[in-house]
């Protein structure tokens, strides 16, 4: 395991409620993720997995508790947009690509918040497309791509501003197992080659098994953490 490395995501006793407190989506969740680690989060529907990712991505604020990313409590950051654009890469269950843009153009969307020129943006988008093995589909629009291909474009988009952390919420949830494994392969490749920290939510045990560590959630808490069987096997 990767104990020697620094902790980059530190979720401390976080509570998040909805509907004026009637729904406790997170009820004292605590989780630490180290640099370069691949953590899979599993658990039954409604246990708070997406909510946890959204809080780490600073899309919402916790009611209480702290989320420290790279040593800084995120709700205290002055510029949340910059944090979302540069520190976090997000991949959703649905690809959420813009339908009127080509694959290459979609990848450039987060780059509008940087000072790259149009030419630089385009070049970078093409590099990222090659990274997810989609170099030949640069000019295709989402409707012309398969589900797995769309998801790979979405991964390339998440990487467009070189974030050190990648958060993926059931990125294979809408794919058949073959396409799902392909997406997993791409994600794991990026985590290994680029040293990106990867937190992935999945119902699918075979997907979760690919992680360094599996975190199980229930009713808004983390109930169990451990090296995945695969990771354990690798150590032996």
């Amino acid at each position: 395991m990767s104990d020697g490395r620094e902790i980059v995501i530190d979720v401390r006793n976080v509570v998040k409620t909805f509907d004026e407190g009637h729904t406790r989506a997170l009820d004292g969740a605590t989780l630490q993720v180290r640099r370069g680690e691949f953590v899979a989060i599993t658990g039954p529907s409604g246990c708070g997995k997406s909510t946890l990712l959204h809080l780490i991505a600073a899309l919402e604020r916790p009611d209480s508790g702290e989320i420290v990313v790279y040593g800084e409590e995120i709700t205290r950051r002055r510029d949340l947009s910059a944090y979302r654009a540069r520190t976090i890469g997000l991949v959703f269950q649905l690809h959420n690509l813009l339908p009127n843009l080509t694959a290459a153009e979609n990848i450039q969307v987060p780059m509008y918040e940087t000072d790259l020129s149009a030419g630089q943006r385009r070049r970078k988008a093409l590099e990222l497309l090659a990274l997810v093995d989609m170099a030949d589909k640069a000019r295709k629009r989402p409707a012309q791509l398969s589900g797995g291909e769309r998801q790979r474009v979405a991964i390339a988009r998440a990487l467009s501003n070189d974030p050190p952390i990648l958060l993926a919420d059931e990125p294979t949830g809408n794919l058949d197992s073959k396409a799902g494994l392909r997406v997993l392969e791409v994600l794991r490749g990026i985590q290994r080659q680029r040293g990106v920290t990867l937190v992935l939510v999945s119902h699918d045990p075979t997907i979760a098994a690919a992680a360094d560590r599996i975190v199980r959630m229930l009713d808004g808490r983390i109930i169990e953490e451990g090296a995945s069987a695969e990771a354990a096997a690798r150590v032996v």
Partner: protein, 371 residues
């Protein structure tokens, strides 16, 4: 892809809606531009009359509802001649009536002796002779329309006149009309001793502005007409036209603004999820605002372009009507088009404010959950 192209491509997502909105707004802009062109042309025609005969300035009765209702007397001419700076005053009585196919045939009654000061450049024939009550000089357009040449006779106000000369002054209304002896016009208009306008020629070295201002101060019942902005003093019709123009512009902004708002509200609400995703990907509020406002402005710029084009076509068609041809020829000044553009941008901003605000305030987490 440059940001502006991203904005443009968003507009192309709903081609029919974008097209219909552009068309709707462009109609408002057409009205504004066409009215601007017509108002300007009407003013220009009036100014041409006030400047006719290469005078330095003209004098009318203050507060006249229309130029043709201005009435002055010999006493007024005497008041002017009392100023040593004034070399000559030519009194003119104007009448307008249907002659041939022109319902607004302008008749300028002038003492033939004054024609040395009130210059109507001749293209054929000669000036009116002193004492000949049945002579007429025709404008070149009028001669064409009536198909009359020098030496032939024409009928005006049920009287027969002999055409002695044909002039081309460059003023639309005068070239479509005629110059007749003052006494004749006074007789058939039953306006003995009256003038419509007095055309003033000053001595060399006189400051026209200063003199005109002094005359108005010393004789409040006289309006001195030095430039176009003075026209309203003797022609409230133009002032009314200006007011209508302003009213329509404001109306066009409101109607257009609501049309744009309707379109942009739809465009924003159907993309709720998308705006949330953009926020989640790190777009600032400011960029979202820029995108929505950009879409609206681009939409309205297209409308302004189309509206301006339609206005040019419309005004060209309108002057084919003889009634309008008689007193204006369309002049396309940048003013009218800038006004159209300003309406377009006003409409864009007015219509986009609320949708842009809404787009920027979508919560990213909610938007992602929203199916």
């Amino acid at each position: 892809m440059p940001f502006i192209l991203l904005i443009f491509s968003n507009l192309l997502r709903q081609k029919i809606r974008t097209g219909l909105t552009v068309l709707g707004i462009s109609i408002g802009i057409t009205t504004v531009v066409a009215l601007g062109v017509i108002t300007h042309s009407a003013r220009a025609s009036t100014e041409e009359i006030l400047r006719a005969g290469t005078s330095d300035f003209s004098v009318g009765r203050a507060g006249s509802a229309d130029l043709t209702f201005s009435t002055l007397t010999g006493d007024d001419a005497e008041k002017l001649l009392a100023y040593p700076q004034i070399e000559h005053v030519s009194g003119v009585l104007m009448a307008i009536s249907r002659v041939g196919s022109n319902p607004f045939f302008v008749q300028v009654g002038i003492d033939p002796a004054d024609l040395t000061y009130f210059e109507m450049p001749l293209v054929d024939g000669r000036k009116l002779a002193a004492g000949a009550g049945d002579e007429i000089m025709l404008g070149n357009e009028a001669a064409d329309n009536l198909d009359a040449a020098v030496g032939e006779s024409v009928e005006v106000r049920e009287q027969s006149f002999t055409v002695v000369g044909i002039y081309h002054s460059g003023a639309v209304m005068l070239d479509g009309g005629a110059v007749l002896p003052l006494a004749t016009v006074r007789e058939y208009e039953r306006k003995a001793g009256l003038y419509t306008l007095l055309y003033v020629r000053v001595r060399p070295g006189t400051d026209v502005e200063v003199l005109a201002a002094r005359i108005e101060e010393e004789h409040p019942d006289l309006a001195t007409l030095v430039d176009l902005s003075d026209v309203g003093e003797v022609d409230q019709g133009l002032e009314i036209l200006d007011a209508i123009n302003l009213g329509i512009t404001i109306l066009a902004i409101f109607i257009g603004g609501i049309a744009v708002m309707n379109t942009m509200v739809m465009a924003v609400f159907e993309r709720t999820r998308e705006f949330g995703i953009l926020r989640a990907l790190g777009w600032r509020t400011r960029r979202i605002l820029q995108m929505v406002l950009g879409e609206s402005i681009l939409l309205c710029l297209m409308a302004a372009a189309l509206g301006s084009l339609l206005a040019v076509i419309l005004t060209k068609l309108v002057v084919l009507l003889p009634a309008i041809q008689a007193f204006i020829s369309p002049e396309y000044t940048p003013d009218a088009f800038l006004r159209g553009l300003a309406v377009g941008i006003g409409v864009a901003i007015l219509g986009a404010l609320y949708p842009a605000y809404r787009a920027a305030s979508f919560s990213p987490a909610q938007a992602i959950r929203y199916e």
